[in-house]
Symmetry: C2
Subunit: 361 residues, 2 copies
């Protein structure tokens, strides 16, 4: 069954189930809790599938995503610094109904969350965000992490649950990740040692990205992983060596709408479908991979046009022909859709709403 | 009045009116029809404002956008090759109710539109798309354009209205555009001469982007311009010399959510707010311009984080502080929002729905 119109984002259900089971099996075999990041799919139905496949809870980036996901999950981690009264008030409200944890990397942030929790007469779990090399958020030293943990531990309305980190700087193939993950282990151990000296406990140590997911057992003390992209995979994963083309569950079906310029065909999808995200491990590989024409290069995008260089193709797509594209980075592509198509085992396409798309905070 | 939560996309109504009036006055003074491209705002309310400020009709890229805009406008141009039965059927249905024109760059495309128009017992106006140097869509030679025009002219269901081009390759400052626009004029003249020799008339000659808009009088034979971005403007325009910072009507209010990494602050907006679009004329200028901190550089985006290098700032934004960012490319930023805020003259913020966001075809 073909989608009625293009560009159409199609999710292959069989591949999704394989991806979910593989990660669940890995986590299970290493005694790691699996808390998938839902930013990739933003779908209640797929969150539910993840929970059914053994996830202990869900991860989100936005408060609005936490609210949406609370419809199917009673245990949500907001892996994002919840600064701003608009965020903390809604988090505290949500914490009255579900187990809610928030990542924090500042005393000020913890104070704001505590104030909101106390106003709502509830308790919010805190994971202290430690920077292990990404350089985005997270406290820089074990000493800073201790100071924040101690403040959280004595704050009414807060519950010190543990440590959080995001190893997003590790983008090399899995077989080469060991030295970088050993460095992560050392930073975590230093922080945990200091906590222990001061009588502070980290029940949860939460890390793990999709690129590092299957090497998570190399991180000492880890209790939980939060991969997101693994549910669908994309060309970042293929070129990075984290997955194969066959593991890519999300494709974008496009139609060739122009062949007027020699050596080029134009697809009906540009940055408003693919985004402008380059492939991290292969920035010159173009804006996605055309399954039927592997020698074609999507070399330029404007908002609604994808210009494809077909000069190296032995045969060339015809005007009106549909082609299948695996995007560079699937997460922001999903975020552009109001609904996508989920392909069942028998090939039937069912509309899948992107429930948590377009939320502000 | 401040938006209740961030990231918040705020449109300044006063600046919008100035931008619309300036373009309307220019078009009027040069006897050019103004048919704004609505891909930038995707809003019925702003389309209505453009029509009130003298626009003769509207331009869209998608069939769904044409359907939405037909609520306020009886004269819509689809500046996009409408290949695919899903597109042509809906276009033909729409053409029964409003004046509809479509850009075409292939005999096959024209045939598909004719078939749909005949099935719906209606007529669709055709503009033959001529490539004047952009190399995206459009016929390459006057001979090809003639062939398509002749075929359209004798096809029941189609009405040959004229020529369309998009000078998107001209990105130099207006004062330097004259040679490139003279080249465009030559290509148009060659095509029109051939049409005239064969008794074919082009009542409409439609061109004009925001960068070239105010130099459109340099294009001989032009009857209509289709700027889109001019309603809001953005850093592409500022760095390209097409507008000033004061002409930028759309800003994104962000909150500083982390200051944990030295020399850096993190905004609560990443690629899911700003997109990954680099600034065309200044690709190393970062992912937008922070009005309050002109020396800060938004140097890295992930999905929900904007990492800002503040090492060159004499003062540094504090944790929890709100800042105002002008994006590199406003059109895809609007497309990420379900609704934005419109600031009235008195500072009041009113929610503005993005009516034509998230449509498939």
């Amino acid at each position: 069954m073909d989608p009625p119109a293009t560009p159409a984002l199609v999710i292959d259900g069989t591949t999704v189930v394989q991806n979910l089971n593989r990660m669940a099996d890995y986590a299970d075999s290493h005694d790691l809790d699996l808390r998938p990041h839902t930013k990739t799919h933003k779908s209640l139905q797929l969150a539910d599938l993840q929970l059914g496949a053994g996830a202990v809870g869900l991860t989100v980036a936005k408060v609005g995503e936490a609210e949406v996901m609370s419809e199917v999950c009673q245990d949500v981690l907001v892996a994002y610094p919840a600064i701003d009264p608009a965020r903390t008030a809604r988090l505290a409200h949500l914490a009255k109904h579900i187990t809610l944890r928030v990542a924090v990397d500042s005393i000020e942030g913890a104070k704001q969350i505590a104030a909101a929790a106390n106003r709502a007469k509830t308790t919010i779990g805190i994971l202290v965000d430690l920077d292990v090399g990404m350089g985005r958020t997270g406290l820089q030293t074990p000493g800073e992490a201790l100071k924040l943990a101690a403040m959280v531990d004595r704050s009414p309305g807060l519950r010190l649950d543990g440590l959080l980190f995001y190893p997003g700087h590790i983008q090399c193939p899995p077989a080469e990740q060991e030295p970088a993950l050993a460095e992560v282990s050392r930073k975590l151990s230093d922080a945990l040692e200091l906590w222990a000296e001061h009588g502070l406990e980290a029940r949860v140590i939460s890390g793990g990205s999709t690129p590092t997911a299957f090497q998570s057992h190399l991180v000492a003390d880890l209790t939980e992983i939060r991969p997101g992209t693994y549910i669908y995979n994309d060309m970042n994963g293929v070129h990075g060596g984290f997955c194969t083309l066959e593991d890519c569950a999300a494709t974008i079906i496009c139609t060739v709408v122009s062949t007027a310029v020699p050596g080029q065909v134009v697809l009906d999808a540009g940055t408003k479908t693919f985004t402008s995200d380059r492939c991290g491990p292969a920035p010159d590989s173009g804006h996605g991979y055309i399954v039927e024409y592997p020698d074609a290069v999507i070399n330029k995008l404007t908002e609604e046009h994808g210009q494809v260089d077909v000069r190296k193709c032995s045969r060339v797509p015809k005007l009106g022909e549909r082609v299948t594209v695996i995007p560079n980075h699937v997460c922001p592509c999903i975020n552009l859709q109001t609904a996508v198509w989920l392909r069942d085992e028998d090939g039937t396409l069912v509309e899948l709403p992107i429930d948590a798309r377009g939320l502000v905070i």
